[in-house]
Each structure stands twice: as structure tokens, then as C-alpha cells.
Symmetry: C2
Subunit: 171 residues, 2 copies
Amino acid sequence: MRKVILFITSSIDGYIARENGDVDWLFTDQDYGYKDFTETIDTVLMGGATYRQVLGFGGEWPYQTKNSYVFTHDASLRSNEEVTFIHHDVPEFVKGLKEKEGKNIWLIGGSQINTVLLNEDLIDEIQLFIHPVILGEGIPLFTGSSIETWFTINGIEEFDTGLMKLVYQKK
Amino acid sequence: MRKVILFITSSIDGYIARENGDVDWLFTDQDYGYKDFTETIDTVLMGGATYRQVLGFGGEWPYQTKNSYVFTHDASLRSNEEVTFIHHDVPEFVKGLKEKEGKNIWLIGGSQINTVLLNEDLIDEIQLFIHPVILGEGIPLFTGSSIETWFTINGIEEFDTGLMKLVYQKK
């Protein structure tokens, strides 16, 4: 069955963005395996806050060649050719997606949807890119309502900039 | 000059203990380099909450052969043959310690003293033992008042249980 992969960056202290959502601290000097990864997936999932952040970057929708699903309580958002909005029954929807044929599914974030899918045991793999920085505050990987969940490690990669990639798989 | 080393465990999501201080989720099946590490240090530093937790484990003071310093606002605590309590001027005290001859200094934690010393640029190295678990909530590595601080990576070690040791050094 296709996997849901949380492919995400964090600081040493576990933050995925500053409090205001800024990710200006992320390394952009190399590809860090991004292009290869995007060729293994055909679908992206994200929450409403992450969606608004992606829109805020301006320009074209960056996932044009993928099936894009955005989970949001904002019922005023209408699906279009680029994005399908899902307003309820999120775990059931993702279970359904996993049963369809296709490449893997990229869970982009953020904290809220990560936690919903973690708690439903729907995250199969985490590819975590730890940047060598203590941010001190910010948006955490998962929210405080996460259920304790154990993984096995399935690969590490060290980059010359000090970025560490850790790959965790569901036990 | 001797180094201050934060040798500490965390979850994938950056917690060093559960909300109530519990560390029942830590692996205890192997030594994970603990004994070798303790031979490189002759001094331990910790905050008041960590001190109370160590006392709560019962038994003898576990750092009998080390110089133990506890930073606490509780002026009722009187130094004894096992522990010296430091009630003020913590950064100056640690700077003074570093200038003395001796082995390295183990900063045990927790969040508060980690942050005080990070913000004074007094943490020379972090040896972080990431357990393969999402806890979801708990006591963070550093508190929200930490100053953004960058490190370089200086070693990784992977254990068969999925525990990852990352060694970071001050830039």
C-alpha cells in the first residue's frame, strides 16, 4: 500500500517554523534530496495554515503536477483545478487515498494535521531534516494532543552544512 | 579550556521529560556511552527541578565522585558535602568554573538552566540522544526565551534500538 510520508524540516528543539510561520532559517543552498523525493509522490496533503503560507509565498501553485488536498474548516473555500479542499472526515479520506493505486503521499504539515493523522496511526514514515539550530520557540512538529507513538529508524544522512536527515518508520 | 557539555536525551519532538518530569520512556537496555562520558567530566550542573527529580529517584547521590552544583532560587537549601547550591550570578559562576583546571563539565538540565547558559553562550557542545518516539507534550529542551543559536554537527552514532546520538558544537 502507498505510504503517507511526513517529509519535514525541524530545528534541534523540534520546531518546524517560527511562531509567525516564518521558515527563513531553512537551508536553501542545496537540494537536500527534495527533487528525488517529489518524484516518489503524486499527492500532497496539508492543513489550512500551511496552505495560506504556501499562497503567501506568491507565484504559481508549487504542486501543480501533484494531487493537492487541503484540510480546512473554512467551508467557504471551493475546490479548483489546483487544490481540493476537504472539510470533514479527514482520517477516513486519507484512509481512502491510501487504498487507491498511486505513488506515495507527502504530508507537508503543519502541526494540527500532523497530529490528526499521527493519532489515527496514518503516518507511515517521517523524513525529518534537523537543522543545526536552537530556535527556542516556534510551531512544534505535533501539538500537545498527540498520542505517544514509537518508530524505528530506517536511515540517516549527514550533510556538510550540519543538516541531519533521519528516516523513521512506523513500528 | 574545559567544555560545558549538555549531554541529554530527547524525543523526536524535542521533549526531555513528560509534563510531570517522568522519564520512564528512556531506553535502559544499554549503557549508550554513559560510563565513558562520565569519565570525561568531573563536574555536574543542574537546576532545582532536576535536582528534586534526582532526589526523588531515592538512594545515594548518584554523582558522589563529581563536583555537583545546583542552581536554585530556594535560599533555604544549604550546601553539603555532596551538593553546592548556587543562588545567584549563575553565568558568572559557570564562567569561573570553565576557567579552572579540570575535566569537562556536564550540564544535566533542565530547560531553565539550559536556556540561561545557552543565552550566555556558555554551552560548548550538545550530545543529544534522540529516542524514536513522538511524545506530543512534555518539558522542552529549552524554554521559549532562548536566543536563536547555531551549531555545527560533530559526530553521529546510531544504536540498534533506534536511538540516535547527535553531537553538536558551538559555531
